[in-house]
Structures are given as structure tokens and as C-alpha cells.
């Protein structure tokens, strides 16, 4: 028996507070199949607790994940996970990772307990610990009642849950989920998203979620990398985006004249008025109650005030158009 090596404790430190080492660092990463470039010189530094990989089909999301796991060899550039190079420290990286693949992946003649236990043992858990944690993982994902059934008899949703159980059984530091809600009905999808959020909020694990379903990513991730044709189309820190959206306000106003606009601009806010709609970016230190105060002074009626927010769909569509 050996104690988990130094890289584990190093990565554990990085989980507390602001991580000093990026979770994933890409430096000109290029992957080629035959004469087709699948990933073209990706460069990024991702530090979020939950990172979403978005993109249309064939954008290279799964290829990026598979490259990080060492399934594909890059022809150019490099990539690091928890600061460890995928070319030289693949085994260490794999010991820190739990992976839930997109496609069906199971052993049909095994029951869920044996399957998850075996996967735990292959990750280095002692046999008894693996058995205990297999039961726990299956309870956790909601397969407690069905854990002694053969995997071949499971429904698609149950197979997804079994795949999640095998991915977390060994207590990884990074959970990679490739299309986790694929083929799930709405309630099963909600459960899966809730579970991913719970795992993220537990702060025990970082998450990389690859999906083409914007809502799944929006519900679970705080950073998004949008890929298009093997290149990075857009990077977005959703938390930052949400915070900055608080400064972008849309008003529906009646009875306004130029004085109202001038008074707002005097506060240092940028304004744009069209008919009875006004868009503004609030200056630092200016709150909405200041707007209401000026409106009251100018006898302007504010019928509606919205914080204009770019949804992930807006961000995605802009990235696709660019």
C-alpha cells in the first residue's frame, strides 16, 4: 500500500481559496487525425470550479477532453492539468481525474456494485474500501435500490448514473463529464444537474462539463470555453459576466424629456434612449435608487427596470457569429 503521492496534496491545496495553479492550461494545443486538424492551437488558462466546454457538434469538445486524458496525442503545443504536463505526468493526472464518457460504457454481465468496485480498485482503492465506497457512490447517485442489478438491464438514465458513480468512487479532484444529460428525460436531467451542482458546491472536486446544451452549462458552470471548428471562439467567466450585468440596466419610462437624460448622464452613467426605452450603464457608486430619485424629481414614471443580462445563449450565438 502507498499513500497518495505529492501531486494529490498539491492539487488539494489548490482547491482552497483562489487556486494558484490553473486547473487546465492549454498552450497552442493542436491535435490532428490524419490530415484533419481537430484542435488548432488552443491557448487558455482555466481556473474555475466548474468549467463548461461548449460548441456545436464537431467543434472539438470531446477531443479536448480525450486529449487531456491522454487518449489522443497532441501534434503540437502542450496542456497541463493541475500544473502537470499531459505528456510527462499522465499517470498522475489520471489518478486525480474521474471521467464520465459520453457513450455507453459499462460491462453488461456485471452488477453495479461489482462494476463500481472494480473501477475503484483499478484507481488504487484497497478492495474493502472500494466495496464500501461503491455502495456509497451508488447511494449518492440514487441507484441504491438497483445496485445489485446487472448493468445490461439498466435504462439509459440509470446507466448515466452508474457512469457517474464509477467516476466519483475513488474521490477524484477533477470530474470530467462528457454530455452527462444526454438522452435523459426532463426530471432525470434535473436530478443530474442538481447532483453536479451539489458536487461543485461541496468544493471537494473541480468539474469540467462538456455539453452542447447551453442550459446545463449555464446551470452548473462558472467559466465557459466555447469552441468552434477546433478553435477557441470565446472564453467567458460567467460569474464575472453576472456581476457586470448588474451595471447594465434597461428602463421603460414615460414622461421623460431631455432633462432626465442629462441628469442621469451627470451622474456619470452612459445612456441611450429610443422612444420610451432607455438603456444605461451605471457608473461606479451609482445604484438604482439614485435613478428612482432622479425620476421622482423629474416626475418621470418608470414602468419597468431590468438588469439586462446576456444569457449564455446570447454569448454562444455571438461567439458562433464572430
Amino acid at each position: 500500500m502507498t499513500q497518495p503521492g505529492a501531486p494529490v496534496s498539491e492539487s488539494r491545496n489548490s482547491l482552497t481559496g483562489a487556486p494558484s495553479v490553473p486547473l487546465i492550461e492549454l498552450n497552442g494545443l493542436t491535435v490532428r487525425f490524419g490530415d484533419r486538424d481537430i484542435l488548432r492551437g488552443l491557448t487558455a488558462s482555466l481556473r474555475g470550479r466548474a468549467i463548461g466546454l461548449l460548441g456545436p457538434n464537431g467543434a472539438g469538445k470531446s477531443t479536448l477532453i480525450n486529449t487531456l486524458l491522454g487518449f489522443y496525442k497532441p501534434v503540437g503545443g502542450s496542456a497541463k492539468v493541475f500544473g502537470q504536463d499531459i505528456g510527462t505526468n499522465l499517470r498522475n493526472i489520471r489518478s486525480l481525474v474521474g471521467y464520465m464518457p459520453e457513450n455507453d460504457a459499462f460491462i453488461s454481465k456485471m452488477n453495479a456494485v461489482s462494476f463500481v468496485r472494480m473501477m475503484g480498485e483499478l484507481s488504487g482503492l484497497p478492495s474493502r474500501v472500494a466495496l464500501e465506497r461503491a455502495h456509497e457512490a451508488l447511494f449518492y447517485v440514487g441507484l441504491a435500490e438497483a445496485r445489485y442489478r446487472q448493468l445490461g438491464t439498466y435504462s439509459l438514465g440509470m446507466k448515466q448514473l452508474a457512469k457517474l458513480a464509477q467516476a466519483i468512487v475513488h474521490g477524484p479532484k477533477l470530474l470530467i463529464l462528457d454530455e452527462p444529460t444526454n438522452g435523459l428525460d426532463p426530471s432525470a436531467r434535473q436530478r443530474m444537474v442538481r447532483m453536479v451542482r451539489e458536487i461543485r458546491d461541496s468544493r471537494e472536486m473541480r468539474i469540467v462539463l462538456c455539453s452542447h446544451l447551453l442550459r446545463d452549462v449555464e446551470d452548473t458552470c462558472d467559466e465557459v470555453l466555447i469552441l468552434k471548428q477546433g478553435q477557441i471562439a470565446h472564453y467567458s467567466d460567467l460569474d464575472e459576466e453576472r456581476r457586470s450585468n448588474k451595471r447594465f440596466v434597461e428602463l421603460e419610462i414615460y414622461g421623460a424629456n431631455g432633462d432626465f437624460t442629462a441628469a442621469i448622464e451627470k451622474l456619470g452613467c452612459e445612456c441611450a434612449v429610443a422612444a420610451n426605452r432607455m438603456k444605461m450603464v451605471l457608473a461606479d457608486g451609482i445604484e438604482t435608487r439614485d435613478i428612482f430619485r432622479i425620476a421622482a424629481e423629474q416626475q418621470v414614471r418608470i414602468r419597468r427596470l431590468n438588469f439586462r443580462r446576456d444569457t449564455l445563449e446570447d454569448i454562444f450565438l455571438k461567439a458562433m457569429e464572430s
Binding site: P4, R94, M110, M118, P126, E132, G171, I176, S202, M205
Partner: protein, 285 residues
């Protein structure tokens, strides 16, 4: 067992040694294999001939008992030919065992897409192949060279130290002949099952390689008036190696060394095919 825990908890306890992880695969695969009653029954059947050999060794050293039966004591001689016959019978049984058990080792993993789950862990393709082949390796060892060595030891204990010393090479031949046969059978079975990804078809293909290989070899020899056709017949090649190893006087158009080289080429090809197919994801170029 803390199955009542519903929250995720991290793990920071001890881990098993990395070198020992292939044994996990061995343990689970072997357990799966022996779930089949037919498999267990056939495994037991494989010990009938070694038990018959044991009886023959006993009888060969019981002159008075043979005299009572009216059997001349020279009829049963325990020599290289005896162990060659033993090897031939157990070799056939080992082949049948491989045809039954081998294809089921890898093809279900490939058919159900389980390989990414193995290889996303600190577990390499070489360890995977080692873990799976060790199932067949140990299973076939149990029915070939291990009982063979037991028989040799018992014969040695009856015949005395001088017989044992003079015939020690037979024990070596038993082990080497078995290991070559086990290697070729294991690699062939796993490579075929990795290639077709379908257990039943892989089993049928293995039988075809052996039986049609012999027919194909005869056809080549007849058409081209040559003996080189035997190089496509794995069983013939193996027999040639065994004849050489056990120093048996038997007709064979290929000598042991070229046959051994040919078998090594087959093993290398199977290994190459195996490593090509056993991947997390197949790259379509």
C-alpha cells in the same frame, strides 16, 4: 459498511501499489469466467487425463500388480514419449478451453465501450492486456505444465534420483512447450476477440484458424508442390516445436527452429493487432 452516507466524501487513504493493479482485472475476469457451470465442468474434465497418467505411472512401478493382471511391465514406459503424449492431449484441451473462455475476456469490454473507463485511470493498455492474458495464462497453466510437473515429480520419486537427473530436460521441455502454446493461444484468442468484438464470432474464428489453417496448408502444399504451406498451420508448427523439445522420433517436414520463429511472428502480429484495437477510442482518420 457506511452505506447510509448520502453525501459525497473525498478519499485520502492508502492506495494499492501501482504494479499490482493488473491483478484486479485478473481477479474479476476469472470470477466471471467461473460463473459458467459449463466452464467449471470442462475445467474439471481437463484433469481426467493427468489422473489417468498418474495411474499409469503408479502401474508402471507396480510390477507385481501388472503381473497379477497379466500385463507385461514393458508395456507402460514413462519416458519422453509418455510426456509428449501427455502434452499433446492437454494441448488440445487447452485449445478447447481457450476457444471457450478466451473470446469472452475482451470482446464485451469493446462491445460495451468500457475501455475508456479503464484507461482514464492510472492503468495502461499494457496492464490491461497483461491482466486479461494472465487469466488465460494461469487457467491454461493449471491444465498443462503444472500437472505435468506434478507427474514428473511423482515419476521421479518412484524411479529414483538418477532417472530424475537424467530426464530433467523433460521437465524443462514440459514448461517451455506449454508456455509457447499458452502464449500463442492467449494472444490469438484475445486478438481475434478484439478484432471482431463479438464473443461467438471470435470463438468460431479461433476454431477456424486452427482447423481451416490445416486445410489451407494442405491445399497450398498440394497446389504448389511444397511443404511451406505448413507455415500457415499453427497447430502443425506447434507440433513441430514439441517434437523438437521432447526429442521424439516423428515425421515432420518443418524443424523446430523455423517453426518457433513462425510462431513468434504470429505472436507479434497478434500483439500488434491487440495494441491497435485496445484503445480508449478508435481514431477514424
Amino acid at each position: 459498511m457506511a452505506v447510509y452516507r448520502r453525501n459525497y466524501r473525498p478519499y485520502s487513504g492508502a492506495q494499492t501499489a501501482e504494479w499490482s493493479r493488473f491483478l484486479v482485472l485478473f481477479r474479476y475476469s476469472r470470477r466471471n469466467l467461473f460463473r459458467s457451470k459449463i466452464q467449471t465442468g470442462f475445467f474439471v474434465l481437463c484433469f481426467f487425463y493427468p489422473i489417468a497418467c498418474l495411474v499409469m505411472i503408479y502401474l508402471a512401478h507396480s510390477a507385481s500388480f501388472l503381473a497379477k493382471l497379466g500385463v507385461p511391465s514393458q508395456l507402460i514406459s514413462i519416458d519422453n514419449m509418455f510426456f509428449f503424449r501427455y502434452m499433446s492431449v492437454q494441448g488440445v484441451l487447452a485449445f478447447l478451453m481457450t476457444a471457450f473462455a478466451g473470446p469472452g475476456l475482451i470482446s464485451p469490454d469493446l462491445a460495451n465501450g468500457a475501455l475508456p473507463l479503464y484507461f482514464c485511470r492510472p492503468f495502461s493498455r499494457a496492464e490491461y492486456v497483461l491482466g486479461k492474458s494472465s487469466v488465460l495464462g494461469i487457467l491454461l497453466s493449471q491444465i498443462t505444465w503444472i500437472p505435468g510437473l506434478v507427474l514428473f515429480t511423482i515419476q521421479g520419486s518412484f524411479a529414483g534420483a538418477s532417472w530424475t537427473w537424467n530426464n530433467l530436460w523433460i521437465a524443462g521441455s514440459l514448461v517451455v512447450a506449454s508456455l509457447i502454446w499458452i502464449a500463442i493461444l492467449s494472444l490469438l484468442a484475445m486478438a481475434l476477440s478484439a478484432w471482431v468484438k463479438w464473443r461467438i464470432v471470435a470463438g468460431a474464428l479461433l476454431l477456424a484458424v486452427m482447423f481451416f489453417g490445416a486445410g489451407f496448408a494442405q491445399a497450398i502444399n498440394a497446389v504448389m508442390h511444397t511443404d511451406s504451406g505448413h507455415f500457415v498451420d499453427v497447430a502443425y508448427l506447434m507440433a513441430a516445436v514439441w517434437i523438437g523439445l521432447f526429442k521424439v522420433d516423428a515425421e515432420n517436414s518443418i524443424t523446430a527452429f523455423p517453426a518457433l520463429i513462425a510462431l513468434l511472428v504470429y505472436c507479434s502480429f497478434c500483439l500488434w493487432l491487440l495494441m491497435r484495437k485496445v484503445r480508449a477510442y478508435e481514431v477514424i482518420r
